[in-house]
Amino acid sequence: MVRGFGWAAAFPDEVWEHVFSFLAADADRNAVALVCRAWHRIERRSRRRVFVGNCYAVAPAAAVRRFPEVRAAAIKGKPHFADFNLVPTDWGGGAEAWVEAMAEGWPHLEELRLKRMVVSDDCLELIARSFKNFGVLSLVSCDGFSTAGLAAIAANCRSSPVHTSVGLEVAILVSVASEGVNELSLVYLLLSSADIPYLRNLRELDLHENEVEDNCLNWISHFPESFTSLVSLNIACLEGDVNTSVLECLISRCPNLKTLRLNHAMPLEKLVSLLQRAPQLVDVGTSKFSADHHPELFSKLESTFAGFKHLKSLSGIWEAGPTYLPAIYSVCESLTSLNLCYATIQSPELLKFVSRCKNLQRLWVMDLIEDNGLIAVAASCKLLQELRVFPSDPYGVAPPISLTEHGLVAISAGCLMLHSVLYFCRQMTNAALLTIANNRPNLTCFRLCIIEPHTPDYISQEPLDAGFSAIVESCKDLRRLSLSGLLTDRVFKSIGASANRLEMLSVAFAGDSDAGLHYILSGCKNLRKLEIRDCPFGDKALLDNASKLETMRSLWMSSCSVTLGACRQLALKMPRLNVEVIDERRGRPLESWPDDFPVEKLYIYRTVAGPRSDTPPCVWTV
């Protein structure tokens, strides 16, 4: 007991634990852990969920040791710009170290979510073998694995009796979908031994936008016949064909299935027969949505979708032609989430479809929707909260689409609940941004990408400083911002001064001088992630604000004006930062380069684990 904190012992640990269980936010639990030793001990033993925003910020063994009772872990690896090929493929973010530590220290782990990590098939096999009660595996933007690894996961799924590990073996039926239950449990009891293999009840397998090598044709057939616990299956990112009949069997025997997202390989007829078996689905991702017109197929599709009484979320619809889209009008009214961002449907059909979706809260769509389409959305979808408009032709080879700032302005005016925007377009004005800012002060996420770098206000030819300044000044709760277009240091002054809740900022081709970076780093008190490319920001701002970097998760700078000397100074000054210089061009070691050597890519992150041991040849920890 610590003197002066005797009150902590006034209640037994279990009471405090119960109190802490109401604290959902990690930040709150972290705060609690700092109050006194007793609370630190109680909190750490009772923490069930861990989020590691940077896999290199802490050593896996340390995390596992500190929180021994974790049931759910989420870990992120590569920096965000890895999505755009700016990070070398061998940079790191491997999951083995974490999976091995977790297999060792968290045998009761139930949920694992990895984002932007390199996950090997061996990792997947280890996951399959190590966790008794594994329920959720989510891999987002990962790579390094193949369908053979998925087969290993599938093969280890069981829905059957679980034995307690202490002496007495009691058969507990978790979920069995057949008759003869008592006989079954007896059989398991008889066959039980101390050495029973770990059994799992996989509920959720979520593969989102991963690069998966396809080398195991029928991995789905590795799910045993007894496996019936599936609630959510997302295989949209898989390239290859999936055996439809095996999938049909799987779906038929999983009565709790709510989410099913298929990949584009499946032909429409097979999709229809598959979906017919699961009218209880809440979230559907279709495969390709085009085929030659067949009236029977059309009516089958129509009746299948009409059978979805609970459908809330629709995605997929790859390569949709106008032919089959009308067949699914019946679900529009109930949809709250619609993801058409891979659907190359033209504006008239899109308009007809989307304007029926009166209850839409989230809409992801291609710029093929055009301004007219967005105006219609603004009129029909009054509950819209999140809009993402993706470019159908980012490299501008095809004739231009008529999607301009007008579409976004219309949405901002018509959709009062809009708080999150991602918008790719080719032109913008300060006036439009001002209007948006005034219309929607409740924006929390504003990501605007004007495709051509350095594009000014196309009417006044001014930089877009005024427009973005209006956004940060008006939207007091803005947490995420991405800038584009022609911008000077002025916009950074506004951001530094006004964006008090900003947590993530992405900057490209902007600013005039170091002052820009200085404004950001000396302001933005809640900034966690800063990523910058192709801006004239250099050493001075970085060194002047060195201590700020320890309050942030990470900083990425590429094609800026930072020199190696500044990195060295920074690393010296801030021992709890890893300053990684990434250079794929040269072969000579870092030590031999002079101080004025320009750094091509720089990734700085706070860590308690010290420099990492798995840096590839192109990365140097200064």
């Binding site: 710009f81 999505d83 755009f84 090929n85 700016l86 933007s141 369908t147 936008e209 991963n210 690069e211 090598e213 396809d214 080398n215 195991c216 044709l217 990112c237 390239e239 290859g240 064909d241 584009h264 390989a265 499946m266 032909p267 390709k288 790859w318 390569e319 961002c341 891979y342 190359t344 993706f390 470019p391 159908s392 980012p394 490299y395 501008g396 080879v397 095809a398 004739p399 231009p400 301009t404 790719f424 080719r426 032109q427 990408c449 495709i451 051509e452 770098p453 350095h454 594009t455 000014p456 196309y458 991405s482 022609l486 992405s506 490209a508 081709f509 490319r533 192709d534």
Partner: protein
Amino acid sequence: MSTTETGNSSTTESAVSGLDYEETQLTLAASGASRSELERKRGFSEGVDLSLETKDFLSGSSDEAPISGAGEPSAAKAQVVGWPPVRSFRRNVLKSCTYVKVAVDGTPYLRKVDLEAHAGYQQLLTALEEMFSCFTARNYPNERLVDPVNGTEYVPTYEDKDGDWMLIGDVPWKVRSSSNFTGNIKGFGSHVEAINKEELEGAISTIHGKHHSTENNLVECCDGCLSLHANGFVDEKLRSCRFSSKNTHRLHHCKVNWDPQHLQTMQS
């Protein structure tokens, strides 16, 4: 005659920056009979406007006055790495299929090549020559492809959407992907099969994982569609190929238009 376009090559060069798609529409028909002879006689280096290649595609930089909304010169602009910030996953999935089949007269099998992977005609032709190097020999002095057996010269041609045989090189490289050039086949000689855009899939796909070893250089796709790869070619290209491919269902169409004679050669 397809040769009329060659006469315009100097105007097409200047037309790259003020791109006029109508001008580069290749729509004239030529009489079938005279085609192959004509192409045989013309030297390749005359056909390709090599000065187009020196219009360095990196020269389109952000120094140019930003064009808003028009998007026309961006066809000739550089592609800055990682910009616009479109996820590589999305980019690969939506990538318009730019694989074309290539046949060389008298060779037992065809190849597929990704137009996107090459920066210009010269690079493409070098790649094609490498692919078919076992059958043809480069005649270095005048840089023409010559068949070692009978000494006939090869020229690269393709069939455009109107079914006309065109000599490679007239259309500026960057324009080709937006206009009628896609969906057509490039070929050496006149023996090329017409495959429409629907059938241009990422050919070399490991969708069914049947990688045959590189010793016999065959990769079998679904339903017996066969495609070829050479050592090293698959591993590098396969990734881009896989991501630009649509689905195996479409590969069925591939098979339909394959020359049965070729198919038999491969199966044997």
